[in-house]
Symmetry: C2
Subunit: 115 residues, 2 copies
DNA sequence: ATAATACATGAACACATATTCATATAGGAG
DNA sequence: CTCCTATATGAATATGTGTTCATGTATTAT
């Protein structure tokens, strides 16, 4: 790996940086994970589920979208282990399934609220 | 806003949830912000900049992408105030410009590393 | 002046993604 | 059984996004 010498970065430093880099698989999973939060509809769903457990119908009423759209998004959230579901009769109740969600939410909110 | 009564959620609770919901503009900015982290190339750039200040040429060598691609991504990072730039002659040095970046990175990494 | 280097940017293209529509499945009521 | 409700899912479509290519701008050197 060649690097220009504009700042005279030693090849040791380069080696350290490159080897400290998380493996590609992890970077990809990380990107995938952030992408899940990168959609307003999913963020609204996450917000409402942070208030209380909700069924799909209630969620779609609250976010003002069709049931199908909400189901599709819930599947993405489920696959990324951000929500879990519980079946009760014909209904499925969803709730948050990750203690990191609130942290991420709060940190990101702090960022965008700074000027 | 109508909600089914499968869990007998009081209309007071609904009002509280709905009014506690961040305004649409904020949700959109939040999604936009997370979207910035939702790309492997940008995550790699962020990682290298978390090690040290770097010029565009070095960055493109490190991430193994064309200078143009890196410039495009740096613009996105700059517009979202995650990196700042400093000009020195013909070169432009980039560095991280947000104290929340490390937090987000660490929290998300903790999530994906759990099982 | 010209040449060379560093970076930025617009256009184009390929690919991903969110929503809608239609339909399928599954459970409960009659 | 049939009907209805709740949810899931595949296909289609419109929109968004990342990369490349070509080119533009700016600074330095000769």
């Amino acid at each position: 790996m060649l690097v220009c010498n504009c700042k005279q970065i030693s090849s040791d430093d380069v080696t350290r940086m490159v080897s400290g880099m998380p493996p590609e698989v992890e970077i990809d999973r990380l990107a995938e994970f952030f992408k899940v939060f990168g959609d307003p509809t999913r963020l609204r769903i996450i917000y409402y589920l942070s208030c209380t457990e909700l069924c799909v119908h209630d969620l779609s009423a609250l976010v003002g979208m069709q049931q199908s759209a909400v189901s599709h998004q819930l599947k993405i959230l489920r696959l990324n282990r951000l929500v879990k579901s519980r079946k009760e009769g014909t209904m499925v109740f969803y709730s948050l399934d990750d203690r990191h969600v609130d942290d991420l939410y709060a940190t990101a909110l702090a960022h965008i609220r700074e000027q």
